[in-house]
Symmetry: C4
Subunit: 312 residues, 4 copies
């Protein structure tokens, strides 16, 4: 294994110096850590909220619908089995029809629509209905909060190029990748940094090392189109003289951190991703995604973010 030169003080990234199995990522492309946490306390309200806020919309909608259905079934069942009295206004010929009426009464109570043709009589029925209507209102209070929480969470969505390139730059080469804003929220005051992580034998023990890569330009004011981030591979770079095979034998991984301000909510957002050695394409360059329409206005085609061509 080639020895990597130490030009920048190795930052402690937070993963520690432990070496994983070869080819294992420390960070997933979506920026989450590839670490298995064990021994977590089982039930935690805040973790459930965190899941509800970050799950996909299709899952979330399904969950809301199923909860509505489930709670209605539960209460319908309670109305069904309560002894002594029954709902006023039911019209039924068999037990299924009775249950259906109880189910719809439950839905009318949970949603507080309360038409009143069906209405509770007797203390048991009335008590259950009073509790159900309270649960209904609290449930929809919760849904209100969740909907707002899902929308207002600052969440820049950056579209990174799938590959990082080793591309020509000035007289030499550079490590490059690019990204664009996948959303319409303007992003301003952007900052980028790259951390290069690799294995190294220190005092006879294989350890994980981390070095910051110096960027040609590390901030921009306003992300209008795409931003290509460039680390020039010159003599000061720890990548200097490393080959494609070296990166593999070093089990190299490049951590990307992007900070920006989401101008719609004036909140700072952080995005992370990583490129593993096999995401790096050697001797290629990005194809410009910028054009001009008939009026001379700049255009930017977001679908071209990963387009590159080989360089000979």
């Amino acid at each position: 294994m080639k020895r990597v030169s130490k030009r920048n003080v190795a930052p402690e990234y937070g993963f520690g110096a432990n070496v994983t199995g070869p080819g294992q990522r420390l960070m997933n492309p979506d920026g989450t850590a590839n670490v298995k946490r064990i021994g977590e306390p089982g039930f935690q309200v805040i973790n459930i909220y965190h899941s509800l806020i970050t799950m996909s919309w299709s899952k979330f909608n399904l969950l809301v619908f199923c909860s509505y259905l489930g709670i209605n079934f539960l209460f319908a069942f309670l109305y069904h089995i309560v002894p002594g009295s029954e709902l006023n206004g039911m019209i039924y010929h068999n037990d299924l029809e009775k249950f259906m009426d109880e189910f719809f009464f439950s839905a009318q109570t949970l949603s507080t629509v309360g038409y009143g043709r069906l209405n509770p009589s007797g203390m048991e029925m009335s008590t259950i209905a009073a509790i159900e209507s309270m649960i209904g209102l609290l449930g929809f209070a919760l849904a209100t909060g969740l909907l707002y929480g899902r929308f207002s969470r600052p969440n820049a969505k950056l579209l990174f190029s799938e590959n990082a390139l080793i591309a020509p730059f000035k007289e030499g080469k550079a490590f490059m990748f690019r990204f664009a804003n996948a959303r319409r929220n303007p992003l301003i005051e952007l900052e980028a940094n790259i951390i290069f992580s690799y294995n190294e034998t220190v005092n006879g023990k294989l350890m994980r090392q981390f070095q910051t890569l110096k960027l040609d330009l590390s901030t921009i004011t306003y992300l209008v189109m795409s931003w290509t981030i460039v680390h020039p591979i010159n003599e000061e770079s720890p990548l200097f003289n490393l080959t494609k095979e070296d990166l593999e034998s070093l089990d190299a991984e490049f951590f990307i951190n992007i900070k920006a301000i989401d101008d719609t909510y004036a909140q700072q957002v952080h995005t992370r991703t990583s490129y593993k050695y096999n995401d790096v394409v050697w001797d290629a360059k990005f194809i410009s995604a910028i054009g001009q329409d008939e009026k001379g206005m700049n255009t930017f085609d977001i679908r071209m973010i990963n387009n590159y061509s080989a360089v000979t």
Copy 2:
């Protein structure tokens, strides 16, 4: 085309070095980028939310009203065509009157008011009504979030002078503009910066260049009246010796970035605008908008923000 002196390191603003057609703005006066994005993925929940949050109040109110009407029509139609059973309590002599009753039943269900004279019977009707009442509650949960989101979004509204001026300043001249707070939210800890953008031929290729303009004063603590931002045009300024015609031939544009803290929400807000060369008035100065009432208290007339007078 005159050569512009390079005094300050050109900041990469984020628009890239591509040159647009002559007279085309890179930034619109409202601070949005004048770039056409193509190839965006069609439907994105977060972009819809972004539109709902940033659209005007009149559009938003119209949309809410039309959605309410539209959903009611849709469900009225469903109640109308469901075979087998009909709503309890309807009084009608013709199909239109029947539809009207179904429409109002739908409204009573969607808003969960549920008077009950009209009420569903039969499994199909009851199921549709149960779904409608759930949609009603979720819809108003969404409206709650949208209303709050629209209000609580940090959104300093700065009233910029329509024109930037080339005005007398000390012994020489200066590039000036001014702005005031259009809202009652106090703005504190303000920072301003100006970026001068122009065309230049570099290695035989026409490119867009960017330079920061040095300000006489770049921060104030509290925006009480208006703030006049001044870039002195001295030997260190890239505008030194440029004429009105030079600015046009350079296709000059001045980007303005204002940072401030909205004291009501303690959030940092960013405002951008730009002055194109034809927004710059030469040899004029602003008229003070500050007066004093009969008690000696300072007054500030916001309508005078753009008032200037010619200087000979």
Copy 3:
């Protein structure tokens, strides 16, 4: 008028250099600017929201109640005058009783409780009721947002001593004031600054000047009890050699800016106040508000924040 020494670069506070009538404050004790804005555009949704968020609780509650009453009256009136049909289920002997029933029907519709004894019949009645129930839901959506906005707004409430003191400090004197946290939200990472503002004749014109006063200690980590902010009046201070009468003739005002992080919401909050020359007590010192209970635990009595004793 005594000439004030210029030790620190005068910060542009944002009030400009205009001189007000003698004794007029530039800033009110509650931190708002004492400036009359004229020519503001009349109706602005965001300013109304700002008022609703910052008004006192008693006013807010009264407003909510009156709006509920007012809207009910308005719709009751509409139900009353609509020709052709009347509400189902009314029991009345005279016009007042009819109006009362219409009023209560309106309340039942606005709050979506919809008992149903009273219910609309006919197209006009039903349409008005459908609109009222929509307004009801939107109104309570708005109330939800307002309630949350009022609570969650970061709003450190600092209890400042009513007076600033000229007190003994080390071998000399110092300008001092103190404050405590009036709330239970922990405040951390506090920063203070004082700006001294006074009149001065510059080139024959009376102008308002601003200087920063150097503090003995300008940051603390955690506001547990009270914090006494101290500006030592030594040779470097612009207050050096000034007397009580000098401060009056200079029309002196001291602006206080406190920054802190409200630990409950992790938001930075800014508080401002000012001491006019007649709020300054000469030759006095603060009495400690710290004690110890029987177990040796520190106690802090917030009522003593302004207690001082004369020094001879």
Copy 4:
């Protein structure tokens, strides 16, 4: 009592220089100040909100349920005692049954379900019901805000090791503790600092002193597993040459401040804790909580956060 060397300028932490009874903590392990505030104004809306936001979920849920019950009882009582008229639709044989019907009518009004079998008649009944339904809606508006406020409050939960250790480090010793993230919200851009607080006789008076302890590493980018914070006890450390007995006689306490960004909400969070001298274990070292599963992926066992072993 041994004299502590002064290497770092003592920060003013905010507790002042007052000495508490021996063994009394200044800060509780949960980061709150161990100070009794007296003389606070009694009722403050914002403090009530603060309590409602920070209380435990079990208390909060109980409170919501009891409020619902309590308000219902109150209104049931009002309906019961109002003279002249009674609710329409009641079926009862005795006063208790009448009260039960009034109670359930109240619940149906408060939750706005309003079935309508029970409905108010007469002006008094109708007025009370109109007020109750308004209170119901405002109450649930409040609950919505509280639920959202509880969830969205930035609240990093760090799991600190119960003990700080005096452990071997390089050629010497170090003061160490560690912590992990107890939640799934990613924490990034962490900063730590330790303040050492002890008693010292200054000019014959016992005073509380504060010194910052220098850390081997004071920031990390991403908290993936646990972070061990290390203060090397070398000649520059105020702990140099102090023994276990010295720490006790100095009444030593170590304040820990951790800053981090909660990546889910992009908000900076601050966590505090303290170790009193008797929380410090001498001559021990932490046992690694990091392992590897069968695929070579790193694992982290959060239950091991406090595990240490003696060092001889």
